[in-house]
């Protein structure tokens, strides 16, 4: 064989990945070949690939089960690693791990995003001494991820299993997109759970995509197919800069979608009646620009990326339609991570408040609602990006604090005319203050007395009174809210502050 023939033959073999039967098996499950996934991810082909010949002396392990390289997504360079599950189920050998480490280190020195396309059974037990414990062992992958965190965007697309230690790759990414039915994460498989702790459980129930995206919150976005996952990632990256030194790109501004009902008609006067906050979001953002994160997890709080006048904005808002918009341990966690994500990459924050407060009762106290709530307050407080809070309706108790109330240095705190700020709502307040008095009164006199006291209370917390006391910065016509936000975000763009000087805080995790 000539030199050229040998090169051609070897390249062709490696490009095909593992044995035909594994390709077939994947196809049956709706899974694409690793190189096909990359074709869909990049604008064109991958520009460069390194260690293509990894482990080529073996012959049965093309590229050692992982493809690493750089290509363009929306015109910007990104680093990728893509497990090839047709090669020993995408398991990690010594060279697999070294390849992953090198592409991460490239992402670090070039300061460009790192995308992980995960579909792997985990460590190759036969190679454990070479790939598990040492300085360049698998642990280093996570060490690198932690170093990259907040420096460049890290995205995980989960197409298959991510088992045992491998499950930490998604955990350290900014966002995890999971394909329903195929993607899973778990530290120990159902078989292991049965052997070791005697639990009988299905994979879907213990570590499936739906579970992780709605119960554990380790997953962020649930999709039906691989192309959908890849499309989500391409769109998600349009809201981000390449790294923490840059600002997100501004795209062409769009009008909002037009609706018959305006914001004024949308908000019920009764503070306790539910409405759908998504309807309000749609009326202030550029058309079709909402990219929701953790839609199925803790839905009483909505988090998502959007654009206002072509600029990226992270929106955090209570959803009165779900659990009354009350804050729970999970909603506080969800907010904390999202705020950190936006602040890390210079994406302005918008808080839309309609919050009765944090949940009370035994269940949430035992779940540590105080420390989870503290986490949300800490991240919100530390965020130094332009930060606007809008009181849509009620802002009661610590809910006002957690949603970037005036004490937490938002660039401004706006109120709609329907806003109501108080330690607690009128019903609860009158109960708390006059409980004994109410009990003493004859029953027929109680309703009138309660009504009188509630009215007094409402006058006391009147929104114009709070504006008069400079608690809020402006009262805005709901239908002018988008214009007001456009102007203010544009003006606050030059904001340049440091939160405080220290090594780092001691976080209430």
């Amino acid at each position: 064989m000539s030199y050229m023939e040998e090169l051609k033959k070897r390249v062709e073999e490696i490009e095909q990945g593992g044995h035909e039967k594994y390709h077939k098996k994947n196809e049956e499950k709706g899974k694409l070949f690793a190189r096909k996934r990359l074709e869909l991810l990049f604008d064109d082909d991958m520009d460069i690939e390194d260690a293509f010949f990894a482990n080529c002396m073996d012959g049965s392990l093309p590229a050692d089960g992982v493809v690493t390289g750089i290509g363009k997504v929306n015109g910007q360079d990104v680093c990728v690693m893509a497990n090839d599950s047709t090669v020993k189920a995408g398991s990690w050998g010594k060279r697999t791990v070294e390849k992953i480490l090198r592409i991460q280190e490239t992402a670090m020195s070039l300061e460009i995003p790192m995308i992980y396309l995960v579909d792997s059974a985990g460590a190759r037990i036969t190679d454990q001494i070479e790939m598990f414990p040492g300085r360049r062992g698998a642990g280093r992958i996570f060490h690198n991820q932690i170093k990259l965190s907040g420096r460049v965007p890290q995205v995980c697309l989960l197409f298959g299993p991510s088992a045992a230690g491998g499950a930490y790759i998604p955990a350290f990414c900014d966002i995890v997109v999971m394909v329903d039915g195929n993607a899973s994460m778990y530290l120990g498989s159902p078989r292991m759970a049965e052997k070791v702790i005697g639990e009988k459980v299905s994979l879907e129930e213990m570590g499936g995509a739906n579970m992780h995206c709605s119960v554990s919150g380790v997953g962020d976005v649930l999709v039906k197919s691989e192309p959908e996952a890849i499309e989500y990632a391409r769109n998600y990256l349009t809201y981000f800069p390449q790294n923490f030194r840059q600002k997100p790109r501004t795209v062409e501004a769009k009008e909002t979608t037009s609706f018959e009902k305006s914001i004024r008609d949308l908000i019920p006067e009764n503070q306790n009646a539910p409405f759908n906050m998504h309807d309000l979001i749609k009326r202030i953002i550029d058309e079709d620009s909402f990219c929701e994160i953790k839609k199925k997890f803790a839905p009483e709080l909505i988090t998502g990326l959007a654009r206002i006048n072509g600029k990226s904005v992270g929106i955090i808002t209570n959803q009165p339609r779900m659990k009354g918009g009350v804050l729970f341990p999970d909603s506080a966690d969800k907010a904390a991570k999202f705020i950190q994500l936006c602040d890390a990459f210079n994406i302005s924050l918008l808080f839309l408040m309609d919050v009765p407060g944090f949940m009370i009762g035994t269940k949430v106290e035992r779940a540590g609602i105080i420390r989870h709530g503290a986490k949300m307050l800490a991240t919100m407080s530390e965020a130094t990006v332009p930060k606007i809070s809008v009181i849509v309706r009620k802002a009661y108790g610590a809910g006002l604090y957690a949603m970037a109330g005036p004490a937490f240095e938002p660039d401004c705190c706006l109120a709609l005319p329907t806003a109501q700020i108080a330690v607690m709502g009128p019903e609860a307040a009158v109960n708390a203050v006059y409980a004994n008095k109410i009990a003493e009164l004859p029953e027929e006199e109680r309703p009138a007395f309660i009504k009188e006291k509630q009215d007094e209370y409402k006058d006391n917390i009147d929104i114009y009174r709070l504006a008069s006391e400079l608690v809020i910065d402006a009262i805005v016509d709901p239908d002018e809210l988008r214009n007001e936000l456009t102007k203010r975000f544009s003006i606050y763009e030059s904001k340049n502050t440091t939160f405080t000087e220290r090594k780092h805080g001691v976080y209430p995790v």
Binding site: N272, P320, G324, P356, I360, G361, K363
Partner: protein, 70 residues
């Protein structure tokens, strides 16, 4: 058969459909009152309401079954 469950602790304020009614997915079945807020609880799937496990005024905890839909 699916169970409609309370997503948070509270009191059953209003039952808005009747036993035997056909309901759509996402249609409200009952409204709880909790944290002074109205909390609508909707059916996850379409079907017929065959049984209520609660009455108006009852306290329910998170995860308690409210109704059964077939």
């Amino acid at each position: 058969m699916t169970e409609v469950k309370a997503n948070m602790a509270g009191n059953v304020w209003k039952i808005v459909v009747e036993k035997g009614d056909t309901v759509e997915a996402d249609q409200d079945i009952v409204i709880l009152e909790s944290m002074k807020m109205e909390i609508p609880i909707a059916a996850e799937e379409a079907g017929t309401v065959i049984e209520f496990k609660v009455a108006e005024g009852d306290f329910v905890n998170e995860g308690d079954t409210i109704a059964i839909i077939e």
